[in-house]
């Protein structure tokens, strides 16, 4: 373990401890709720980043998986009286995985824009189903009337307890996704993103790897959907609408594609800014849209890209006249930015 990695690990543990302590700091409940939402959408955004940033697949179907999991929790609780957390979670994620297995077969018949359009259409189908299959989904009214079950004997009905629970879920998902990205499988995904033709010529079943990534990302997004259902104790068609799909994608792009932690930061920005703006003005979506466009135009690489640039400027400033000796294997200076 190098010094840099030790520092990063310490910083991560520190950040997690601080985050866990937040409810004890006397913050208004409102902010704790927003942070809870951030952790939930952070999971969804990170899982979409596995597709967009690491596999090169831009999917608009993520809301379908988010919403399907959420609806499963609500339907199981209200119509089948299955309220226990672990069985409900298992069934919800299983259903989502099955849906993703089907959608993946359909969407991966196309590449690039075709793939995007198919995922968009599939998301609309699921939305339409939730909107019109009133006997199961409650239609426009959605489903209410279920509460958070205890997990490991812990009562999650309070804001602080549920906050810590979502934080723990976020950390588990982050650890798993980071492991996937750093594994040989993760390297194959990045190869598939860069040059699918080359990867096929090397012997990789490109479509199978894309398919695996698609299903894995859907299951993680399903975790976020389950948490969101419990967070609101309500589900409605908006949870699997194209709006939600776009919002998750914006979190990814805003935060920095292919960075995992970037999309988490993107989720924080979208959750906090949209709430703050909606308190100020009714036209908040207009302002939010302008902010997105500005970031896309002027800050490619998203928040993580801005961070890198600031670090580079600071690094250049502190290094002063005599640049430190570079290790033999490091790339040439100025090599980080995309061409």
């Amino acid at each position: 373990m190098t010094g840099r990695r030790a520092v990063l690990a310490a910083a991560a543990v520190g950040a997690a401890v601080v985050a866990a302590a937040v409810p004890s700091l006397g913050l208004p409940q409102y902010y704790i709720s927003l942070l809870t939402q951030t952790w939930i959408f952070g999971i969804a955004a990170m899982s979409l980043d596995l597709l967009v940033g690491f596999t090169g697949l831009v999917s608009f179907a993520q809301a379908a998986f988010f919403g399907t999991s959420a609806y499963m929790i609500a339907v199981l609780a209200t119509q089948y009286h299955l309220v226990a957390f672990w069985p409900a979670l298992g069934i919800a994620l299983g259903t989502t995985a099955a849906l993703a297995a089907l959608f993946g077969l359909l969407a991966l018949r196309g590449e690039g824009v075709t793939f995007i359009i198919i995922t968009l259409a599939l998301n609309e189908i699921v939305w339409g189903l939730a909107y019109q299959w009133v006997s199961v989904s409650g239609g426009d009214n959605g489903i209410a009337g279920f509460v958070r079950p205890p997990v490991f004997g812990l009562d999650l009905s309070g804001t602080a307890a549920f906050y810590r629970f979502t934080l723990a879920a976020l950390l588990v998902c982050l650890a798993l996704l980071a492991a996937i990205v750093r594994s040989p499988f993760g390297l194959v995904l990045r190869g598939v993103r860069d040059r699918p033709r080359r990867m096929a010529a090397l012997g990789y079943a490109v479509q199978a790897f894309r398919y695996a990534a698609f299903v894995i990302a859907a299951v993680f997004t399903g975790v976020a959907g389950v948490l969101f259902a419990y967070y609101n104790e309500f589900v409605g068609p908006v949870n699997l609408s194209l709006d939600t799909a776009v919002q998750i994608l914006i979190m990814v792009i805003l935060g920095g594609v292919g960075t995992l932690l970037g999309p988490l930061a993107g989720a924080a920005v979208v959750v906090f800014v949209s709430n703050a703006l909606s308190n100020l003005t009714q036209r908040w979506e207009l302002i939010l849209g302008a902010i997105y466009v500005a970031i896309l135009l002027f800050a490619r690489g998203g928040l993580v890209g801005i961070g890198h640039r600031v670090a580079r400027v600071l690094g250049a400033a502190t290094r002063g006249a005599g640049p430190a000796a570079r290790p033999v294997m490091s790339p040439p200076p100025g090599g980080r930015g995309e061409p």
Partner: protein
């Protein structure tokens, strides 16, 4: 050990709409042979390659590798049977490092490629193997560089290294020295000479000196048909070939 040809193209025809790109092409390459394929632009050389590699479907005829009919197999299945190739324009993963590109080549045909929770860094052997390969061609100093930062010649070397790393049964080289400056081309030629001694090679090339120098037999394509086949000397002396391709330059 098979006694027949190692790589066989049987009566291959490829049509794109009304265009006949390959017209009943047959080719038999022995194990360990180095075969050159030449022909003017548009003769069908790259189409022949893409059909052998599985990227282009044949309209009729087939491809046999080591006695096995691979005509219907997709590219990655052919690769798993020992077919490796380079592309005319270098095709590497530009955002990955040189080392990662080589590791991807090594891992392609091993179960490790599906390992999805153990960090890559844990596979020391894979990394060392990749570094050793890079060392053989003098590129170990570039291991941590993103591929896109390498020069043309170096990228082409990595491209060939990816193919060689798999110890392929058949190596398809699509104009390995095309577009390279003279000294880079020399580097690539030297690398091929040194590191592919026992490989079976099929090579497309425009650079005549290079072809005549490196291969044992040459097949000449013209308008999708084979017009001549023989040793470099025979091809040099071949009347039709001189007319249609070499323009009497030799």
């Amino acid at each position: 050990m098979t006694t027949g040809p190692w790589l066989e193209v049987r009566d291959l025809t490829v049509r794109f709409g009304s265009l006949v790109a390959l017209d009943h092409v047959s080719l038999a390459v022995a194990r360990g042979e180095r075969r050159g394929i030449i022909g003017p632009n548009g003769a069908g050389k790259t189409t022949l390659f893409n059909t052998i590699a599985g990227e282009v479907a044949s309209s009729a005829g087939g491809v046999v590798l080591a006695g096995r009919d691979i005509t219907r197999l997709p590219p990655h299945r052919r690769a798993s049977l020992g077919m490796a190739r380079t592309f005319q324009t270098t095709m590497l993963c530009p955002r990955l490092t040189v080392l990662e590109n080589v590791i991807l080549s090594l891992a392609a045909l091993r179960p490790v490629r599906r390992q999805f929770l153990v960090p890559l860094g844990r596979y020391r052997g894979l990394r060392d193997e990749a570094l050793a390969l890079l060392g053989q061609v003098g590129l170990d100093g570039r291991a941590a560089w993103p591929v896109r930062m390498l020069g043309h010649g170096e990228q082409r070397q990595v491209e060939i290294l990816l193919a060689l790393a798999q110890r392929p049964a058949v190596l398809l080289l699509d104009e390995p020295t095309a577009g390279l400056a003279a000294q880079d081309a020399a580097l690539v030629t030297a690398m091929l000479r040194e590191h592919s001694r026992d490989a079976t090679i099929v090579l497309i090339e425009h650079d005549m000196e290079f072809v005549f120098d490196v291969v044992e037999r040459i097949t000449v394509l013209h308008y999708g048909r084979i017009v001549a086949e023989g040793t470099p000397e025979e091809i040099r002396a071949h009347e039709t070939v001189r007319e249609i391709y070499l323009g009497g330059a030799l």
